[in-house]
Amino acid sequence: MKAHEPITVYIKPTHGLAALNLRDLWTYRELIYFMIWRDVKVKYKQTLLGMAWAVIQPVMTMLVFTFLFGRVAKLPSDGLPYPIFSFAALLPWGLFVTALNHGSRSLVAHQNMVTKIYFPRMILPLSSVLAGLVDFVIAFFILSGLMIYYDTLPAWHALWALPLFLALTLITALGVALWLSAINVKYRDVNQALPFLTQFWLFATPVAYSSSVISDPWQWIYALNPMAGVVNGFRWALLGAGSGPNPTLWISVAVSLLLLLSGLVYFRSTERTFADMI
C-alpha cells in the first residue's frame, strides 16, 4: 500500500546555469523549520547564562557604543538619546552580522550532511540566516523597554516600514551568504575574510554615527550599501529620525536584490560540486 504514486527522478549531469528549482525548497520546507529550531535550541545549551546572552550581547554593545561614540567622541545622534539612537541601528545590524556569519559558514559547518544525503543545499544558508530572527525578536523587546524609558513612541509608519526594512536586511544577508557559503566550500579563505568583511561593513554603515554626516553628493554612493538604507530606515520608523526614505533607497533595494539573484544563480551553478569539493 503506497500513500502516493512514486515520483520519477532523472539523475544526470547538469550543465551551465541550473534552474533555480525553488519548488524543491518548498517540498523541504519542514526541514527549514527543523534546522532553525535546532540552531535556536542548541545555541545556548551548556551555557551558564542561557538565553540571557541574547540580551547581554546587544546591551553590552550598546553601552560600549554609548560610552565611546556618544560620550567620548560625541558623535551627533540627530538629537536623540544616544542609547536608543545606537540600539535602533544595532537591532538590524546585529541580525545582519549573525545571519552573514552563520550563513556563510553553513555549508562547511554541515559537511556531513552535504556529503551524505540529498536535500536542497540552499536550506543550509537560508535556515542559518533565518535563525538570527530569534535573537532579533529578543533585542526588539529590549529596545521597546528602552523607548518606554526614554519616552519615545514609534510613528505609525513603523507598521509597514519595519517589516520592509527587516526583509531588506534578510535579503542582503542571504544574498551575500549564498555567495560566500558556496565559495567557502572550495576556498576556506572565506573564514579568514569574514571578520574583516563585517568590520569594514560596520564602518560603512551608520550604526555608530548618523548618516547626516555624509555630504549630499556622496549619499548616492553611500546607498550602494543596502545596510545603510536599512539602518536609516529603522531609525526613521522607530525614532522618527531623518526625513524618511528618499530615492537613494531604491539603489539600496536594487543592490540587495542583485546580490540575492546573483547569489542564487552562483549557488545553484556550483551546488553540484559541493559534495566532491567540500
Binding site: K2, P6, I7, T8, V9, Y10, I11, K12, P13, T14, Y28, E30, L31, Y33, F34, R38, K41, V42, K45, Q46, H110, N112, M113, V114, T115, K116, I117, Y118, F119, R272, T273, A275, D276
Partner: protein
C-alpha cells in the same frame, strides 16, 4: 515488471592530486612563495585561467556502468575498496552528480549511508528523532505516527529525553539506525551498517531489511560481508576499478569475487619509520594472509585452511626468540595467541636464531573462526628477557562463513570461533508404541 532503477552508461570522474599538492607546504620557502603569489593566483582563479587546469589528474571512479533493477528486487553490490561502490550509491542518493550518463529512479530513495546524519549531541533522543527524520525527508506527521515504533526498535525507552551525548555508542547507533530504518522509501540503499552494533542488534537490522524487501520495496545492499550478501540477496553485481564486470546470481558473483583474488590484498609491509629503534636487532618486513593456494587475500573462507606469514630480518643472533600472533575480533576480544616456537621441539632446535632473513608461517585450520573481521597483532620477544617488537594491529582480514556449520539459519552467532564439532543425537527412550 516495472524498472525501479535504470542506470545507463554512468561515469563519474574525480580530480585527484591538484588540491593536495597545492595545500601542502614542504618548506618555509614554499610558504613565502605561496604568500607572495597569492594575489596573482586569486586573479587567475577569478579569471578562470588557473595554471592547474593543464596538469590535472583524473580518476574514473565509475566507468560506463549500466544496469536495470526491477521493482521489489534486492541487489547486492560487491567489490573491493575503491571499486566504485560508494560513488554509485552517492549518485543514486543524489549526493553527487555523475560526470556522464543517466539514472532513472522511480520512487523515493532512502539510504542507510547516512545513519545519524544531523544528530546533534546536545539534543535529546526525542528531538534528534524529529530532526533526523526531517533531514531524511520525512514529514512531521509521519514521524509522529512512527515515533513509538522507532523508540521501541532502538531500545532507548527511558532515555528518550536525555541528550544523546550521554548515550553509549551502541544506543546512539541503534537510535540512528532506527530512524533511518523507518523511513519507508520505495528504494532503500544499505551500506555496511550491519558491520556495527552487537550481534543481537545486527540480527534485528537484518530482520528489518528482510521485512523491507518483503514489502515489495527495492533494496540495494553494499557490504564486505559475503555471508550477509548471500543471505539477503538473490542477485548481485561486481564492480572492479569503476567497471561493472559481472552480474548474476549472488552465489556465482561471490564465488567469482573471492576466487579471482580481487578481494583486497591482505598484506602489510612495515615502513622503516614505523619500526621503533628499540626493535633492533629485529626488523619486521611483512605480514600477510594467504589462502589455501598461497595467494594473498583479504577474505578467507572459514571452511578452508589458510596461512599467516611473517617475514623479518635479524641483524644479530637472538637467544630464545619467539615470533607470534595475537588474533582478535574487530571488537577487541582476543581469539587466541600463538608463537612459532610453541612446540617444545622447535623451541629447542631454535634456541639461538642466527642473523638472517626469515619467514615464519602458520596454518590456521579450517572451521575455526567465526564470521567477521579479525585483527592480527604481531609480537617478537624472548620470554623473560626482552620484547623486541609489538604491533597490536598489524593487519586485518575478513572471514567469510559461507558453508560453515549452522549457516542454514540466517542468524549471526556470538563468539570468535565457529568450530565444526562432532555432535551425536541419540534417542535414549523411545516413545511407547502401540
Amino acid at each position: 515488471m516495472t524498472i525501479a532503477i535504470s542506470v545507463q552508461h554512468l561515469s563519474k570522474r574525480y580530480q585527484i592530486g591538484a588540491a593536495e599538492t597545492r595545500f601542502r607546504y614542504n618548506m618555509f620557502r614554499d610558504v613565502i612563495v605561496d604568500t607572495v603569489t597569492a594575489p596573482i593566483r586569486l586573479a587567475k582563479t577569478l579569471a578562470g585561467r588557473s595554471e592547474r587546469r593543464t596538469n590535472r589528474n583524473f580518476i574514473w571512479a565509475l566507468d560506463d556502468v549500466s544496469f536495470d533493477l526491477e521493482e521489489s528486487k534486492v541487489l547486492g553490490i560487491i567489490g573491493r575498496n575503491g571499486a566504485g561502490k560508494s560513488t554509485l550509491l552517492k549518485i543514486l542518493s543524489r549526493v553527487t552528480e555523475p560526470t556522464k550518463g543517466l539514472v532513472i529512479v522511480r520512487g523515493r530513495v532512502g539510504s542507510l549511508l547516512e545513519v545519524g546524519t544531523g544528530f546533534h549531541p546536545e539534543l535529546t533522543g526525542r528531538e534528534n528523532i524529529y530532526m533526523n527524520g526531517a533531514i531524511l525527508g520525512m514529514k512531521r506527521a509521519e514521524i509522529d505516527r512512527k515515533f513509538d515504533e522507532i523508540v521501541d526498535f532502538a531500545e532507548i525507552g527511558p532515555f528518550v529525553d536525555t541528550p544523546v551525548k550521554r548515550y553509549s555508542s551502541g544506543m546512539y547507533l541503534r537510535l540512528a539506525f532506527a530512524v533511518a530504518a523507518h523511513l519507508e522509501p520505495e528504494i532503500l540503499i544499505v551500506d555496511e551498517v550491519l558491520a556495527v552494533g552487537d550481534a543481537e542488534f545486527q540480527k534485528k537490522c537484518l530482520g528489518k531489511m528482510g521485512e523491507v524487501a518483503q514489502q515489495g520495496r527495492t533494496v540495494l545492499f553494499v557490504s564486505h560481508n559475503m555471508s550477509a550478501i548471500l543471505r539477503l540477496t538473490q542477485e548481485a553485481i561486481l564492480l572492479h576499478k569503476g567497471k561493472l564486470i559481472l552480474r548474476g546470481p549472488t552465489q556465482e558473483v561471490v564465488d567469482h569475487y573471492l576466487s579471482s583474488g580481487q578481494a583486497q590484498a591482505g598484506e602489510r609491509l612495515w615502513e622503516p619509520e614505523e619500526i621503533p629503534a628499540s626493535a633492533a636487532p629485529f626488523t619486521p618486513i611483512r605480514v600477510a594472509v594467504c589462502d589455501r593456494r598461497g595467494r594473498v587475500v583479504d577474505t578467507v573462507r572459514s571452511t578452508e585452511p589458510f596461512h599467516i606469514e611473517l617475514e623479518y630480518r635479524l641483524e644479530a643472533p637472538i637467544t630464545g626468540l619467539r615470533i607470534g600472533i595475537y588474533l582478535s575480533t574487530i571488537r577487541g576480544e582476543y581469539a587466541f595467541t600463538s608463537f612459532d616456537t610453541d612446540d617444545p621441539q622447535l623451541f629447542e632446535s631454535h634456541e639461538v636464531r642466527p642473523a638472517g632473513h626469515y619467514l615464519s608461517r602458520v596454518q590456521i585450520p579450517a572451521d575455526l573462526l567465526n564470521e567477521g573481521r579479525y585483527t592480527i597483532g604481531v609480537n617478537a620477544s624472548s620470554f623473560g628477557i626482552r620484547r623486541y617488537f609489538l604491533d597490536e594491529s598489524a593487519l586485518s582480514f575478513n572471514v567469510d562463513i559461507s558453508g560453515a556449520p549452522g549457516t542454514q539459519w540466517s542468524e549471526p552467532r556470538v563468539g570468535a570461533v565457529r568450530p565444526r564439532l562432532n555432535w551425536t543425537i541419540e534417542q535414549i527412550v523411545s516413545a511407547p508404541t502401540r
